[in-house]
Every structure is written in C-alpha cells, then in structure tokens.
Amino acid sequence: MSFSGFLTNLLYGITIGSAYTLIASGLSIVFGVMGVLNFAHGSFVMLGAYTGLTIMNVTGNFWLSLTLAPLAVALLGGIVERSMVSRLYGKDVPSTLFLTFGLSMVFSNVVLLIWGGSHYSIQLPSYFKGFINLAGMYYPKFRLFVLLFSCALVAVLWLFLSRSRWGLPIRAGLHDLETVEAFGIDIYRVFSVLFIICSGLAAVAGVIIGSMRSINPMMDLDLITVALIVIVIGGLGSFKGALIGSLILGLAEAFGAQAAPGFAKFTTWVIMALVLILRPKGLFSER
C-alpha cells in the first residue's frame, strides 16, 4: 500500500467513524441515562435515510432533506418513547432490548411496504460531486463534508451535554437518577428530550450514510450491529467510549476491506469479542 493510499484509507476510516459516532453516541447516552437499550435505533437511521431520499426526490434540495428527515424521525422517536418505551422504565435492560427488537421488526416491514426492497442512493447536488485535492491526495468532496459536518454535530452534542442547562441532569443521571429527581428535576421530561434528540441524530446519520452508500431494507440491522459493537467496545453509556469505539470501527472497516475483502466484517467482530473477553464492560464504562 502506498503512503497516499494509506492516508486515503485513514481519512476514509475517520470519515466513516465520525458518521458512526452520530449513531453510537445516541444509543450509548440513551442506554446510560435511561437504561434503555434501543434496538430500534438502527431503524431510526434507516427511516431517516428513506425519508431523506423521498424529500430529496420531491424537492431536489439536499439541505431540506438533511433537516426535515431528522425532524420527522425525531417526532416518531418522541411518539415511540411516550407510548411504549416509557412503560418499561425501571424494568431490566433486556426487556427494553426485546421491546425495541420487536419495534425494529415492525419498522423494517413498514419500510419494505412503502419503499420496496430495491437499493437506492440519495443523489448528491453537483457541488458535492467529484474530488478535492488535499495536498496531492484526491478525496471525494462529499466525504470531506461528512467528516466536517459530523465532527461539528458531535462537538455540538458534547457542548450540549457538558455546558447546557439540559446537559447537567443528563450527566448527573448517568451516575445517580434518584438524586437528580430529588433535586426537583422532572427526569421523565429529560428522558423524552434525550430520546428525541438521539433519534434525530440517528436520522441525520441515515441521510449522510444514505448519500455515501446504498439505502436498502437491511441497513437497519447492519447499522445497529455496528452501533452495538461500538458501544460495547467503548463501554455502555460512555460518550467518550462511543467516540473512540466509532473511530476504531471506522478504521477497521476501511483497512479491513483492503486487507481481506471477503472478511471485512470479521475484523470488527474479532475486536468486539476481544474487548468483551479482556474487559467485559468495555474500555470506558460508566455504568
């Protein structure tokens, strides 16, 4: 592998990793604070991608699909949280996983009924097509945008968690929910807001990934698997863990695809199993 080839792979790995962060951090925070392991998180990514596709096809405006699709999915997330997930607060984590697994089945079927089984891809506007010259290395323009945009969003999310009025109870909730409640904070409202934000973020990732790769009815399982591996590697409930786990996975995917094309996914599973065996609670566990 040449040096510039290595750099391209490295950059691609980081790009993919940054998109994964949008998915995994939401999954991880929802788990850490609410004790809900949301298997339907992958469905939110997929629904975001398909809604974005439809908005793009109707309006032809990429920015509209990047904003409206997440809003729609966030609304759906709110409905799911209020009507179903909230009934399981305080129960054991596996039962939330089983509930959301059922939901993901329902959503994937809805997608199949509305959009059919074919593969799609969101058509990018012309200014995102082609390559950009980065110090002698040619890199697709859109991937660069994905990298910058995802990093910006992750930074906003981090600021929200660490600096805002809402972030404090969320971070406190990671450690001790009862005390947070004792301070007179309506923790269930925090839960709802959190769930809505995280489903919206998942949908943003859906639109982005749907523009880089194909949109198909199997992508929910693919991506929830990735996100689960990420948070298992990073440690359930840890924002930092989700960040680093995503990077590890993105890089493993970028380099693994080149080293052994048929077994690209194998590397990620090996990493996950190794981490689980050596550090059963992940690298940066908060719970």
């Binding site: 039962s95 509930l99 059922g102 089945m105 329902v106 698997t225 591996i229 298992v232 077994f263 194998f266």
Partner: protein, 339 residues
C-alpha cells in the same frame, strides 16, 4: 401450603394434557391428504423441530435467566455439519447428528468459558457477537457454499436402506426426538441441577454462598442448551434439503427470543406454545397479508412485552389459576415442593 395437597391432581392433569398432545401428534399423519393437506404436516414438523431448540433455550434463558441472543449458532452448526456429512461422507442420520453434537459440544464448551464472565445485557452481546462470527464465516467460506449455502443435500437414512426422505417416517422420527427432548428437559428442570439454575436466576450470590460453583453450572447449562439446538439444526437439514447461511443470522436468534417471550419462559411448555404461535401465525399471516405479516407478528410481540411480559403460559395460568397450567408455570410451588 395449600398448594401441596392439590399437586398430585395437577400433575395428573398435566400428564393427561401431555398424553393428549402426543396422541394428536401421533394421529395427525393419518388425516393428511384426506382431512387436510400435507401442508399442515410440514407446518407441524417445523414447529416440532424448532420446539426442540426452544426447550434447550428455555433451560438457559427461562430457568437460568441468561437470554442468549445467538442461539442460531448451535442451530446452524448442527445443520451445516449434518448436511456436509450426508453430502460427502455417509447418509446415516446418526453419524451426521453425532458429529453435529460433537462440534457443538466443543463450541459450547469453549464459548461457555468466555460467556460465563458476563451477565444480562453483556451476555446478550457476547452470544450475539459469537453467532455473528459464524454467520460471517458461513457467508465467506466458499468450501461450505458461501452465500449460496449448501444445496442438493441427499436425504439421510435411518438405517442403511431406510430413507428419511419420506415425509411420514421423518415425521415420526421428529416426534420421537421432541419427546426425548421434552423428557430430558423435564428431568433437568426437576433435578437438583435444575433447582440450582432457578436459584442462579433469583440470586446467584446465594447459590455461591451455599458452596456451589455458579460459573460451572452456567457453563453446563449453556452447553446442554446448545446440544438441543444442534439436534434441531440436524433435523432441519433433513427436513429442508438446503442449508443457507441465514441459519446463523441475527433474525433467527431474535426469532427464538420472540418465541420464548411470547410463550412465557421458564415453563418448558411456554416456549413450545410460542414456537407454535410464531410459526403457525407466520404461515397464516404470510398467505393472507403477503409482505405485511412480519408487521403483525412484530406488533403482537410488542403488545405481549408491554402488557404481559410473562408470556402466554402465564396468562392461561392466571385464567385457570387452580388448573394444571399454574403448576407448569408457577414458580411458587415448584421450588418449595421440589416435585
């Protein structure tokens, strides 16, 4: 306890129900082609084959409380090994089954050493990760068919000359295995070991305080549970002469969890009912609703988790609180009286 006197009566009524179900299973092929089409025999076969796996699943998930999200690995391995044996070595079903059991015992032993370190969600993740290994391997390995899976598997023979390719002999063969599996599972549940498993579910620390080695018990039940899955996979390879890598897929493992939860885990009978419901409804709905059937099944499952997390066996038990089913699903009596 007031329960104690009525137990013989309840046990008796359970035996009656068991005998009735067995009689129906035995007589069912007689009506095939006359009263109803052969389709129902195939449906019943699939329920029984998956039922064997679910009995093992229940030992691990229901009694010991460790839900496996990767049970498809045992099922798929059983199917693949048997199919490869029949295709390339010999057509004896016994050798195929034994080789499958052997490999699954090794898998169950080795993975047991690793998964035993984890509990609850982490146990789910680890079993899920390992089963995904198998899925990726089966998909990528050309030698065992790759993404196409194994096709053209010859029908195995019971003894040389007696083929199990015929539907009716295979049907009775499966009934026999379901019966054996049910008997073994029931024996395990009622044994000292079975009570320790329930103990681990309720309070693992206390089991250890009593001087038992709970990791060893968990490894044991993990392995046993895998062997049930192996038999089930072997029978499936015989029932359907092609083995796709999808047998290892996450949705397969997810379906097992769904069957268990719908029926009610920790009851042996519950998961069997769950299997019957999922497979029967799956077939019924897919012929009525075409593509929308998964939606209905998923919705039913969601409703079940939200409103009756104990599953169907518990609902029925609550309706006939004094009947035989309370004996089957009631944790109350069984631990104290031992039966």
């Amino acid at each position: 306890m007031a329960d104690t006197e009525s137990i013989p009566r309840k046990l008796q009524s359970r035996t009656i129900i068991e005998a009735a179900v067995l009689l129906i299973l035995l007589l069912l092929p007689l009506g095939s082609g006359r009263l109803f089409s052969d389709f129902y025999i195939a449906l019943c076969l699939r329920i029984m084959i998956f039922g064997i796996l679910m009995l093992g699943f229940d030992l691990l998930a229901g009694y010991c409380g460790l839900v496996s999200f990767g049970h498809a690995m045992f099922f798929g391995t059983g199917a693949y090994v048997a199919a490869l044996t029949w295709k390339y070595f010999t057509d004896s079903i016994w050798i195929g089954m034994l080789l499958g059991l052997g490999l699954n015992a090794i898998i169950g032993y080795v993975l047991g050493l690793l998964v035993v370190r984890t509990r609850t969600v982490y146990f789910i993740f680890l079993t899920f990760a390992f089963s995904q290994f198998f899925f990726v391997t089966a998909n990528g390995w050309r030698l065992i068919g790759g993404t196409d899976g194994l096709t053209g598997i010859p029908a195995p023979a019971l003894v040389p000359g007696v083929s199990l390719g015929e539907r009716i002999p295979f049907y009775y063969f499966t009934v026999a295995f379901l019966l054996i599996a049910y008997w073994v599972a029931r024996r395990i549940v009622n044994s000292h070991f079975g009570r320790l498993l329930r103990g681990i579910h309720q309070n693992e620390e206390r089991v250890n305080f009593l001087g038992y080695n709970s990791p060893l018990l968990i490894r044991r039940v993990f392995l046993i549970s895998g062997l049930f899955g192996s038999v089930s996979g072997t029978l499936m390879a015989c029932f359907q002469p092609f083995v796709p890598p999808d047998y290892f897929h996450l949705s397969m493992s997810g379906e097992f969890v769904m069957m268990g939860l719908l029926g009610g885990m920790g009851t042996l009978v519950g998961p069997l009912m769950g299997t019957a419901i999922v497979i029967f409804l799956g077939d019924l709905l897919s012929s009525w609703l075409k593509e929308a059937w998964m939606l209905c099944l998923g919705a039913l499952y969601v409703i079940c988790i939200l409103f009756s997390p104990e599953g169907l066996a518990k609902i029925i038990a609550n309706i006939s609180a004094t009947g035989f089913l309370s004996r089957l699903s009631g944790r109350k009596g069984s631990t104290i009286n031992g039966s």
